[in-house]
């Protein structure tokens, strides 16, 4: 509905405002600015026009909700390729898959995400249960295990999750996004499933060919031991841990000031932490820290180091030692981790000049993360029965962005259909015959299309096949019908061959290969 018209004096002001706002929109469009920014300014313009009362009010805001996007067929083709690689890897490691609803009872999510709980999308109370959209796939997985009393499973789950976060869509940060989770639940010997999770991340990132990457490793045990050794009071472990977690996004000075000024840590304690968190390496770093008498006196630190040594040994056996870095600065935000933690980052990714959020340091590209969470399932079990779990989550949106940019750069055609044959005719009144031929090919399992026009031009049909990358045309006319043959044209070479109709399927099959 249009707003009530203003007086005449106001009208001039509004017209002036519309002119100015129009300029802003034009300029943004010329500059090819962020589409979301443009859309915002267009909305302002429209609401100004509405004040004027003479503009036809746009019936609908034609947009997807903030922080979400549609996938067009080209993006879907890329997405399907990425999923295929990931699912193949999960299956190669013997995983089954499950699915859970997109929303959960709100109480299922309560108390699992610490400060991030404010980012959860709630459903309106329309009577009945109080529901929220899932924030990740880990908590629903733990709920599933407890509810079905499952003690051992190796499962993957690929699905969308929802976070009311500040979107940065050019960097692949959305409010609706996919997670690809692989988790191993069960009481097993130390570090064996944990090492397989590292292996899986390494395989996926290598196969997707997104450039160099490194998988950072640490353990919560060692972190806590280190905090104790440095003199952090036990009740501050978690809050100091979340300060350390910011080291991948900000400088040590800022983290130190958060510890000292905000969280009341003694400066000398913070400085001791500062010494440790700059360390990273592999087995030699484990050995070095095992020489650290203070550390070795602390039970948690000692156990953490032993676990890390084992994990690195297993990474070596799995052939991925060159992809990992034992990194004392890795902390991970979530409260529920109890052991090993992982984070994979891309090391060659360049921040695009037009897209990057200027507040984030260059080269930060976390694309996978995870860890061991032995207590989460117990939070759901009425008797608190624990099911140890370890898992990783592949952050697929950033990988999509990279793959899309690569496809863009390669300028190669991404086929969005798999059509093998286009049934065509250059003559009039051939629709029924085209339909019959099409049906013959469909029944033979050949992916086939035809023009939905009664009498399409032959050239248009050739063009359609060429534009859509359809490799063959099956052409008929009066003569072909009389002779009981079909002409097969190779779209790229333009060679034509004629086959008896009853040999057509066979001939096409040898040309397109198994489907």
């Amino acid at each position: 509905m249009a707003a009530p018209k203003s007086g005449l004096g106001d009208m001039a002001d509004v017209k002036e405002a519309i002119k100015n706002q129009g300029e802003i929109v034009r300029k943004l469009k010329q500059e090819k600015a962020d589409p979301e920014k443009i859309s915002e300014e267009v909305q302002k313009l429209l609401s100004l026009k509405e004040q004027l009362g003479d503009a036809r009010p746009q019936k609908f805001q034609l947009k997807t909700p903030k922080g979400t996007r549609d996938y067009n067929p080209r993006q879907m083709a890329i997405r399907e390729g990425v999923f295929k690689t990931i699912i193949n890897c999960f299956k190669r490691h013997g995983a089954e898959t499950i699915d859970t609803p997109v929303f959960e009872l709100k109480e299922t999510l309560t108390g699992k995400y610490g400060e991030d709980a404010k980012l959860i999308y709630d459903l309106a109370d329309q009577g009945g249960e109080i529901l929220s959209l899932r924030y990740d796939l880990t908590v629903p997985f733990a709920r599933y295990l407890a509810m079905n009393k499952i003690n051992t499973i190796k499962r993957y789950h690929i699905a969308k999750v929802y976070r009311r976060d500040n979107p940065a869509m050019t960097r692949g940060r959305y409010r609706e996004f996919y997670q690809c989770d692989f988790d191993i639940a069960g009481q097993y010997d130390l570090m064996i499933p944990d090492a397989e999770c590292v292996k899986i991340v390494a395989e996926i990132l290598s196969e997707l060919n997104v450039g160099d990457f490194i998988i950072k490793l640490n353990t919560r045990l060692l972190l806590d031991g280190m905090f104790a050794v440095c003199g952090v009071p036990e009740d501050k472990f978690r809050t100091i841990c979340s300060a350390v977690d910011k080291l991948d996004k900000t400088f040590w000075e800022d983290v130190r000031s958060e510890m000292v000024d905000e969280k009341g840590l003694a400066p000398e304690v913070a400085d001791r932490i500062g010494e440790y968190v700059r360390l990273n390496g592999q087995l030699e770093l484990v050995d070095q820290l095992m020489q650290d008498e203070q550390m070795m006196k602390n039970k948690m630190a000692r156990q953490g180091l032993e676990e890390m040594k084992l994990l690195l040994t297993y990474c070596q056996l799995f052939g991925v030692l060159d992809k990992v870095s034992f990194d004392l600065s890795l902390a991970r935000g979530l409260d529920y981790y109890t052991g090993v933690i992982y984070e994979a980052i891309l090391t060659t990714e360049k921040v695009q000049s037009d897209g990057g959020d200027k507040n984030e340091p260059v080269g930060v590209g976390s694309v996978a993360g995870g860890g061991r969470y032995d207590g989460l399932v117990g939070m759901f079990d009425p008797k608190g029965k624990k099911v140890p779990c370890v898992g990783v989550s592949i952050g697929i949106e950033r990988l999509f962005s990279i793959m899309e940019a690569k496809a863009e750069a390669a300028e190669g055609k991404v086929r969005t259909t798999e059509t093998q044959v286009y049934v065509a005719s250059g003559q009039k009144n051939m629709l029924e015959e085209r339909m019959k031929l099409c049906n013959l090919l469909w029944e033979g399992g050949i992916k086939t299309e035809l023009s939905y026009k009664k009498n399409p031009k032959l050239l248009n049909q050739f063009q359609y096949a060429e534009e859509h990358g359809i490799p063959f045309l099956a052409i008929i006319g009066e003569q072909e019908l009389k002779d009981g043959v079909v002409k097969v044209r190779n779209t790229s070479t333009r060679e034509e061959e004629t086959f008896p109709r009853d040999k057509l399927l066979e001939e096409i099959r040898t040309r397109v290969g198994p489907s």
Copy 2:
């Protein structure tokens, strides 16, 4: 939190109530009643126990939201098979795919679903945009076309939609459920894309092997023409149309009474409609109606009959005439249809004695529906520009239910993983060697698992392979390592062969086939 304890006298009452309620729950469980019913009664029992103050309150309600379900790995394996059949069919017909967000701006959905709008899930207003979960895939598709100014596309979209309906889960009616939509947008010649939609439904239902089915056909034009001929006032067309739509769920007498008593139609007009809606057939029915002078005088009816004749002719060319029925009682609920309408029903499905909703007649099994909607995209375009569309939606949940029941009945093992080789050893201290061998197989693309125990028993490893249907074991011990060989055991025949380690991949590959 437990409720405050009641006085002693009340306590006895509560104990009595708990005892009774306990009986109810036990009885339901014995009867294997509807799990939701059981869960409801258990909740009552728990809240009674809470009144008593001595029960440990359950920390979480361990359930999925009403009308939703998890998919376990077995169900996922069946679901994947169904999707594969459907996607193959869509691709065989040259469709691309898109995806849209799970929620839309509320205003995008407003005014599209008539009375059903009350079933839309809204998100809570947490600041920012007002959002709703999608109710179907058609409206988001129309929004996508208008937003991206797309005039021609053939696309499929498989995704979950959300309806706050009364769930009947044993009959496959959920609040969160999949739709598999195939739509053709574009200005084409009459009935050609419309016939392809029929063909697609016929192919999918035949390939899924869910028993006999029939695809009912009608057109809105003919319905409106028929209403006019019978004497229905024009402003009552839509409301009488929705009364006719109930004919698949209820008897003519009830529909007639709705028309006459509720909607104020003259009894003789209703009776005239009653004559028509009992008609169904194929081309001979079109011919019969074309003899009906009253009908042929009405432009809409005449055009509708001509369209139906063309559609049936094309169905014949596509080899699906035996699957279709021109049925004057088919009306479809949604307002936005403007031409052909479809609905596929299973004709051999039996309602299970324990599961069916007693209010629905036996044999009603709508599993696909759709039609032509030439006006919907225009509702989103600022200038009202129309894009003609026709499409079908496969209602997959009921098909899942049937496939699951079939798998259950067959008692065959549904494999939930694709693991080809299980690396095993009967000796101690072989973990590292098992890991190395596992890695060799992974690197060779073989789907491989190993036990996560340090020293698992050989028998347990054999058992694991057998239970999970893993066809081969690769077994090593001291001797095999010394000789540089691996023993390969066929899980089902128990035959063992020994191969040099460097021939292992090759030998395995010839046994498991291409992956």
